[in-house]
């Protein structure tokens, strides 16, 4: 099973002054977006015409198609962002110093938090047009996809093998040629894998971003998400079941037609010297590779791309690398001053904006709410680990079970959990139990699968000779868990746990408040705080909530997960 280090875990980067600057810049930019939106408010608010959403299942294929189209539009933007942003960060040392911390912060900002900022921005960019709403929705999906793709690409670019770099220089490839011959292919396995994770995560946000209410602004775009939202408002349980069914079909198709062929295909680019034993070729890939028609089409497309990638697009001949000269201190100094200036300006902007609208007690409330949510996430992670680690280990150690369970776990990870909320909410309303406790599990419904499939992968990768040694010494019971399997799967477990807990924070924005017709349920927590502030259009509070949540996520990543992962990798691998 392929396994890639999630970006938040990779690298030995300690928090440094650039993180502070990056945080300020990101927050400043978000506030600036609202400001831009507000200043264009002079034009009369063109109420977006709500095309009615039909609850008849016959409309579902059309809605599913619209949602999927949004997904791919976002993917296209994410790829463009990845190729430009990450390349710039990797090729320019000075740019990298700022761009990478910014990416790190962006990664930790709850995606649904962006909704508030960007909706206002895009709606005012195209006043009265559906385009604005569409773009706002696509942008939210983009934010759920782009960061880890860019991170993965950046990491590949910085770990390019020296000999291949030298070979492409000595054969005088131009930067453009090198990008397509070396950079992109080398990054491909990681990029495809991260794209797929992004896409899987993206379904959640497609559903969440189609029917949006930010204060007085609201829109409903045709799509599965809106369908569910309307069904919820109308208390139509069968419609919700139809939606779940439609989503299952969509994800099944996406999984079979795209995910599996792409991941298998990207194996070709894996940088290894020995031929790996690969699993069976997915049927879709087989179809594409073996069918004459598809081959001809594929070759024609490949030929066009090939000749574009072969263009030199550069008049400069490659020069020598000067390893012994030092970077200019003066330019560095100027660069630092410039960054500091922007950061200070952003800080000033933020303070000004926040001080007129917020008080200290708002901050403490947000912090307290954050603690509540943190407790929820922690308890959830512990409970989920207690459930999924033994199950994952059991499955992972049995190849036959792994073959069946692993695709199912990956499939479930892609399923947008928010479609499953309504039945749960219905149950809470029906049994009249405490939402503070019973809304909590919803946060992890979508992301617990990351925990499961990483544990399975870890147990499946447990070396055979060690298994035999363990049998030979008759190590069993608690000792086996403590000394053998837990250390054995630790890096995998942490990878999964990080993804799951990050997802849980994100999901809290939709999971801590829920409604069923007129019934409104809300738990105490930061997610509910942000959701309510969004619904009432209280942007300063959204900013505050989002910032606090980003801080919590960063704090957990830096203080808990990253050191833990480094420790696990150091201690549980040879060499």
């Amino acid at each position: 099973m392929t396994n890639y280090t999630p970006p938040a875990l990779a690298g030995q980067r300690l928090p440094n002054r650039f993180d502070g600057a990056a945080m300020l810049m990101v927050m400043g930019l978000l506030i600036a977006l609202i400001e831009v939106g507000r200043t264009t408010i002079g034009t009369p608010i063109a109420q977006i015409q709500n095309t009615p959403i039909h609850l008849s299942p016959a409309w579902l294929p059309y809605y599913a198609l619209r949602s999927t189209a949004r997904m791919f539009a976002a993917l296209l933007f994410s790829l463009i962002f990845t190729f430009t942003y990450a390349t710039l960060a990797a090729k320019s040392r000075r740019a990298g110093m700022v761009l990478i911390p910014i990416l790190d912060i962006l990664q930790s900002v709850p995606i649904l938090g962006f909704l508030t900022f960007t909706t206002v921005f895009f709606l005012h960019l195209f006043p009265g047009k559906v385009m604005g709403a569409e773009l706002a929705s696509v942008f939210v999906i983009f934010t759920s996809q782009a960061w880890n793709m860019a991170f993965s690409f950046y990491q590949s670019l910085t770990t390019l093998p020296d000999d291949l770099r030298e070979a492409s220089r000595s054969f005088r490839l131009s930067p453009w040629q090198r990008f397509w011959k070396l950079d992109v292919p080398f990054a491909m396995p990681g990029l495809v894998w991260n794209t797929m994770l992004s896409m899987s995560g993206g379904w959640f946000f497609v559903v969440a971003s189609e029917a949006v209410t930010v204060g007085k602004t609201q829109f409903t775009l045709p799509g599965i998400g809106s369908y569910v939202a309307v069904a919820l408002a109308k208390e139509d349980l069968p419609a919700i079941l139809y939606a779940i069914l439609a989503m299952l079909v969509v994800i099944l198709l996406y999984d079979q037609l795209l995910f599996r062929p792409l991941v298998a295909w990207s194996g070709k680019f894996r940088f290894e010297t020995t031929a790996a034993i690969s699993g069976p070729e997915p049927w879709m890939l087989k179809l594409l590779r073996r069918t004459a028609l598809f081959r001809t089409i594929g070759e024609a497309i490949g030929g066009v791309f090939g000749s574009v990638f072969r263009l030199r697009l550069s008049f400069r001949q490659p020069g020598q690398v000067d390893e012994t000269s030092e970077p200019s201190r003066m330019m560095d100094g100027l660069w630092f001053v410039m960054i500091a200036a922007i950061a200070i300006y952003a800080a000033f902007h933020i303070v000004q904006y926040v001080s007129t609208t917020l008080h200290w007690h708002d901050f403490f409330t947000a912090l307290l709410m954050g603690v509540y949510t943190a407790i929820r996430v922690t308890v959830l992670m512990i409970v989920a680990s207690l459930i999924w680690v033994p199950i994952g280990v059991w499955i992972g150690l049995r190849p036959a079970a792994t073959r069946i369970a692993q695709p199912i776990a990956q499939f479930l990870a892609a399923f947008p959990a928010n479609l499953l909320f309504p039945p749960a909410v219905l149950a809470i309303v029906y049994f009249n139990v405490n939402p503070n406790i019973w809304l909590t599990p919803l946060m992890l419904i979508g992301t617990q699968w990351y925990l499961l499939f990483n544990v399975i992968a870890g147990a499946a990768a447990f070396p055979g000779d060690m298994k035999e040694a363990v049998q030979n010494f008759q190590i069993r019971g608690l000792l086996w868990w403590r000394k053998v399997i837990i250390p054995g799967i630790l890096p995998y477990f942490i990878t999964g746990a990080l993804t799951a807990s990050g997802g849980a924070w994100n999901a809290s924005i939709v999971a801590e408040v829920a409604s069923w017709g007129a019934h409104k349920l809300a738990a105490q927590g930061l997610g509910a705080y942000i959701a309510q502030a969004t619904a009432t259009g209280n942007t300063p509070r959204v900013v505050l909530g989002v910032a606090v949540m980003a801080c919590f996520v960063i704090f957990f990543n830096r203080i808990l997960w990253r050191p833990l992962y480094a420790y696990a990798v150091r201690r549980t691998t040879l060499g």
Binding site: D163, L164, S170, F171, Q177, K181, R270, Q317, V321, T324
Partner: protein, 440 residues
């Protein structure tokens, strides 16, 4: 092919040095001069760290020297020149490209039309004996076949100069030999579309077997210590006495240079951090001492013969010999290695006694290790962070050497039970620490 035209390459007063914050600059190449004519094969022979690969990269136009002049066909070199192609030690093939696509890479960069590309790559593939492998991916090929792809990829651009960076050192002995002879045969038959070859190697026999001229490099800093002409005609016979004598001579040259330097250094011992240590394991040392003290060597061995018998490369054997000589277990003399009295005692001893003898040798000959020990002793908690020693080492050597030296000291110190090392905390410590117990 002797013609007095402009030389292909001239290198004058070339120096490559890395600036250090404290202490002297780290000099990789110092005052190197080189002229390469058309029609010759030149070998750059030296140990790892002698800067020979750096020089190759400078000639390739990949690296800019700190100072000095590099001319390609009479003009200053400003980047990878069109007439130069390179073969890499690691092959440097693109795993996602087929053999043919790999070979065509250089032609694509030149903007050669598709038909020409296919024709020329086909030609190079056939020349180098890869016909039939066109559509294969590198991972499907054996090491020898992969390096053939590397060769074809370089030859397809019809370079004037073929640069080879230890091209056969990643291959097994037999495969390497086949590739060498194939290459020399093509060269002798005039089938190689190149004018000249420069090959970097640490294998003495390979240099004598292939080159018309050998430049022997000394290390720290890298300099051209000797230049030898190889007078034999191709094909050469390894077992020809004259051939053997030349190999022996070069062994002598390569060992002679280093020995006095190390001894004076340790005798004066000005700074314990000034000298890098070879990463040689204690088992390897023990093994060589045991071999030396027993039949058929009885205390003295000819280095080339020993290398052949143990299947060691010079690059492995010389550091080992030098380390033994530094520790006073052996002596290096004119291409021979002799066991000393201490060395013999070590070879005959049991495990615990060996540790004692080794500890004694470290105490007398490795000032770095005694320095570390005394720092640990001075501390009230008997712990010292590794980073401070690494920093001090880095004042005198490259970070890689500093790391390697530190690793070596840790391994030796652990073996001799001089100190303990906690990898997690990156700290040196002493064994009898009670706080260690309640940690676990």
């Amino acid at each position: 092919m002797d013609q007095i035209t402009t030389p292909l390459v001239t290198v004058r007063n070339c120096r490559q040095a890395y600036h250090k914050e404290v202490g002297a600059d780290l000099v990789v190449l110092d005052d190197v001069n080189l002229t390469l004519q058309e029609g010759e094969i030149v070998a750059l022979l030296g140990r790892s760290g002698s800067g020979k690969s750096t020089l190759l990269r400078i000639v390739a136009g990949l690296l800019k020297p700190t100072s000095g002049e590099v001319n390609w066909r009479g003009n200053p070199l400003k980047g990878p020149a069109p007439g130069v192609a390179m073969v890499f030690q690691s092959f440097a093939l693109f795993p996602w490209l087929t053999v043919q696509e790999n070979v065509e890479l250089g032609l694509e960069a030149l903007g050669v039309k598709r038909n020409d590309r296919e024709e020329r790559s086909e030609e190079a593939i056939d020349l180098i004996g890869l016909g039939g492998y066109d559509g294969a991916y590198p991972k499907e090929l054996s090491g020898g076949m992969r390096q053939r792809v590397g060769l074809a990829r370089a030859l397809v651009v019809h370079p004037d100069l073929l640069l080879m960076d230890e091209p056969f050192s990643a291959l097994d002995v037999l495969t390497a030999e086949t590739l060498r002879t194939d290459l020399i045969d093509l060269w002798m038959d005039g089938k190689l579309p190149v004018k000249s070859i420069m090959i970097v190697t640490h294998n003495i026999e390979e240099a004598v077997l292939m080159a018309d001229r050998i430049l022997v490099f000394s290390s720290n800093p890298g300099r051209v210590a000797h230049e030898l002409k190889v007078p034999f005609a191709h094909p050469r016979n390894r077992f020809d006495p004259a051939f053997r004598e030349m190999v022996d001579d070069i062994y002598g040259i390569m060992t002679r240079r280093k020995v006095p330097e190390i001894h004076t250094a340790t005798a004066m011992a000005p700074n314990p951090f000034a000298h890098p240590l070879h990463p040689v394991g204690t088992n390897l040392m023990a093994g060589l001492l045991e071999t030396l003290s027993s039949e058929p060597y009885n205390g003295r061995a000819d280095l080339p013969a020993l290398a052949a018998a143990l299947q060691f490369e010079v690059d492995e054997l010389l550091p080992l010999g030098e380390t033994l000589s530094m520790l006073g277990f052996a002596l290096l003399e004119e291409g021979d290695i002799l066991i000393t009295e201490t060395g013999r005692r070590f070879a005959d001893a049991e495990t615990e006694d060996r540790k004692q003898i080794f500890a004694e040798a470290l105490r007398t000959h490795v000032p770095l290790i005694t320095e570390i020990r005394s720092v640990i002793d001075q501390r009230s908690n008997h712990r010292a962070a590794a980073v401070r020693f690494r920093d001090q080492l880095e004042d005198h050597m490259s970070p890689e050497y500093a790391e390697e030296t530190l690793r070596t000291v840790i391994a030796w110190g652990r073996y001799a039970e001089f100190f303990e090392y906690d990898e997690e905390a990156q700290q040196f410590g002493l064994e009898e620490e009670e706080e260690e117990d309640d940690k676990t």
